[in-house]
Symmetry: C2
Subunit: 346 residues, 2 copies
C-alpha cells in the first residue's frame, strides 16, 4: 500500500465544485470513492459538514443532500464542504460499524495511512478535509433503538474558551436540547482530533433513526440556523416546533450517575417519554423477564429528580443494559466541574 | 429422537393452572420449556392466545403477560390458554426467525415430530395446544422497520362462513383497522392449520415494534374487547383512541396491486403517514441513491387512489424492496372475489 489518499478536483476553487475523496485500496478492500462538494465564497469561516459516519444513522446523509440543493444559491461568504456519506460501506450494510474490518469509524481517528479500510478513511479525512475547516458539523442519529429529542451535543473540552465557543455554536442550531455529554470512550473520536486542532466540533444527534419527514425538517432547520449564526447565509433563525414547543435548553449528562440499566434480561417497556420531568422513585419502565419460570414484571425507578433525555425502545435487553438516560440543566458550576474532569486535549 | 412433546401439568383442570409445554431435545438443541397458563371455567368457547412467534415482535408477549394478571379474576365462562412466548429462542436473539435452524416458525406449521427445533415446536403446538381451541389470537407486530396502524388481520379463507365469522371476531377487537390480507406465502402458516381445523384465527398486527406504552394499551384493550364479544368476560367494549379518533374500518390489501417498491437502492424518506388518503400521482416518498456518483433524489408516487396502510421506516432499501403498502375499503364484491382467489383450505 503505497498510494496516498487524494481529491479528484480542485478542492480550493472559488464557487461550487464537486468530486471524490479517494481512499486507496488495500488488502481488505478496493479503492473507495467518496463524493465531496465544496461551495467557496472566499473570506469567512469554513464549515465542514460530514454525515454517514455510522451506517444505521440515516437522517444525516439525507439532510446533507438537502442542504446541497439550496446552499450554492444562498451561501454569501466563507465556505462549506459537504460529505453526505463518510462511511459508505457501513451505510450500505445498515450497520454502525464498517462491515469489512468491524471498526467504528468514530473510534478510529486519526486513522492510519496503511491501516484497514476504516483506518484509511479516517486518515484521509484528517489529512485532506479537516485542515480546511474551522467548524465541523458531524451529523449523527441516536440509532434505531432509542427515543431521543433533537439535540446538538459536545463532549467536555479542557480548553475553556473552546468549550464556551462550541456550546455557543451548538446552541445556535436552536434545537430543543443542547447537551454537554460526559463520554467515556473519547479516544479515537472525530471530536477529539478536531478539538486538538482548536476547531469547533458540534455533533447533532436525532432519536429513533426512523428518517421521518418531521425529524428531517427539524434537522435541516437546525443546520440552517447555525449557518445563519455564523453569518454564512442570510435569513432569520427560529426554534423548530417539537413536542408543541419552540424552545431550547442547555443540559448535561454524566456517564456515572445518569444512566439507568435493566437489572435482568427481558423485554423493556418504557413508562416515560423524552423530556419528562421525573422525581426520585418514579416508575420509568418495566422489565418482563419472560424466562423459563413465571418471573414477575420488575419496575424500574428514577434514582433522582431529573429530565428524561433518552428512552430505549424496541428491544429485548440484557442484564445491565442501559434503558433510560437522564439529564440535568447545565449550570456555570457544573460546566466548570466538567472542564476539570476531562483530560486536557490540547 | 423418540420423545413426545408433553405438558407438565393437568392441562384440562378447572380453574387456574400453569406449567410448561416441553419440546423434546434433539441434535440441534436441548429440551425447551415453554410457560403455558390455562384459566378454565368449563362451558363456553376456548380461546388460545399465543405471542412471541417472531422474536423481534415484542408487544404481543408483554400484552399476553398483562392479560394473565387480570384474567383469572375476570373470566366468567369458557377457557383461555395463554402462551406469552411460543418461540423463546427467537425472542432472546431479537430475530424474526429461530437462530438455531434459521426457520420462520410461522412458515413451519404443522411441524415435524423429528424435525429441527422450530419444526418440533410447531408440532408440539399443533399436537397439544391447538386441539383444545375454538378461537386463536396469535399476537404479532409489524416488526421494527414499518409504521403501521393497530390492526387485526386475516388471510382470505375459502370457507365463506369461516371467513365471515373470522372477520366478525377480528372486528370485535375494535382496532382502527381490520384487514383481509392477500398473502402469497400461505403454506406453513399457523393460520392455515387453524382454518383447516375449522377454527377462527385472528392475527393482530401492530406497527413499529417499539413497545411504547400507548400501543400496548391499545393492544391490550383490543384483546379485552374480543373476550367481551365472545362473552368470556363482562364489561363494555369501546374503540381505543388512535390518531385522535375512535373508529374502525374494514379494509383489504392485495399483494399484486397494493405494494409500492423502490426503483433503486438508497435511503427511503417517507412523505406520507399511515391512514393518509392519497390520489394517483401523489408523492408518497423519496429515495436518495447516495451511490458513487451525484445521483439525484427520486420521487415515488402513488399509482392509484388508496389509503396508506404501512410505511417503511429507518432503512437503506434495496432496489425492488417494498416501501409503502396501500389498502382499500372492503366491499361485499371484493370479499367474494378474494374467496374465489384462494385455494380451498378445508
Amino acid at each position: 500500500m503505497s498510494q496516498e489518499p487524494h481529491l479528484t478536483f480542485d478542492f480550493d476553487a472559488l464557487g461550487s465544485s464537486a468530486g471524490h475523496l479517494i481512499i486507496p485500496g488495500g488488502s481488505d478492500h478496493d479503492e473507495l470513492r467518496i463524493p465531496v462538494s465544496s461551495i467557496n465564497r472566499g473570506s469567512g469561516p469554513c464549515v465542514l459538514i460530514t454525515a454517514g459516519c455510522h451506517g444505521n444513522e440515516l437522517e444525516g446523509p439525507v439532510v446533507a443532500q438537502r442542504i446541497l440543493e439550496w446552499l450554492p444559491v444562498h451561501l454569501q461568504r466563507g465556505r462549506v464542504i459537504v460529505v453526505p456519506v463518510i462511511n459508505p460501506l457501513a451505510l450500505r450494510s445498515f450497520t454502525r460499524n464498517t462491515p469489512v474490518d468491524g471498526l467504528n469509524l468514530n473510534r478510529t481517528f486519526p486513522g492510519r495511512r496503511d491501516g484497514s479500510i476504516t483506518e484509511r478513511t479516517a486518515y484521509a479525512i484528517c489529512r485532506l478535509l479537516l485542515p480546511a475547516a474551522d467548524v465541523i458539523f458531524d451529523l449523527h442519529s441516536f440509532g434505531p433503538l432509542w427515543n431521543f429529542p433533537p439535540s446538538t451535543t459536545t463532549i467536555p473540552i479542557a480548553d475553556a474558551k473552546l468549550l464556551s465557543d462550541t456550546v455557543r455554536v451548538a446552541e445556535s442550531f436552536k434545537l430543543p436540547m443542547t447537551m454537554v455529554w460526559e463520554h467515556p470512550e473519547a479516544p479515537g473520536m472525530f471530536d477529539v482530533i478536531a478539538h486538538n486542532g482548536g476547531k469547533i466540533f458540534v455533533c447533532p444527534e436525532f432519536g429513533g433513526g426512523m428518517v421521518n419527514p418531521k425529524d428531517l425538517d427539524i434537522y435541516e432547520a437546525g443546520v440552517r440556523n447555525a449557518l445563519i449564526h455564523l453569518e454564512l447565509i442570510g435569513g432569520e433563525s427560529e426554534y423548530p416546533l417539537y413536542h408543541e414547543k419552540r424552545s431550547g435548553r442547555l443540559l448535561e449528562t454524566r456517564r456515572s450517575s445518569d444512566e439507568l440499566s435493566s437489572p435482568v434480561a427481558g423485554i423493556f417497556e418504557p413508562r416515560c417519554s423524552v423530556l419528562d420531568e421525573v422525581e426520585a422513585g418514579d416508575v420509568v419502565g418495566r422489565i418482563y423477564p419472560l424466562g423459563d419460570g413465571a418471573s414477575a414484571m420488575i419496575e424500574i425507578r428514577a434514582p433522582n429528580k431529573a429530565t428524561v433525555y433518552a428512552v430505549r425502545s424496541s428491544a429485548y435487553v440484557d442484564a445491565q443494559e442501559q434503558v433510560v438516560l437522564f439529564a440535568r440543566d447545565m449550570t456555570d458550576h457544573s460546566l466548570e466541574s466538567l472542564r476539570l474532569s476531562v483530560i486536557p486535549s490540547a
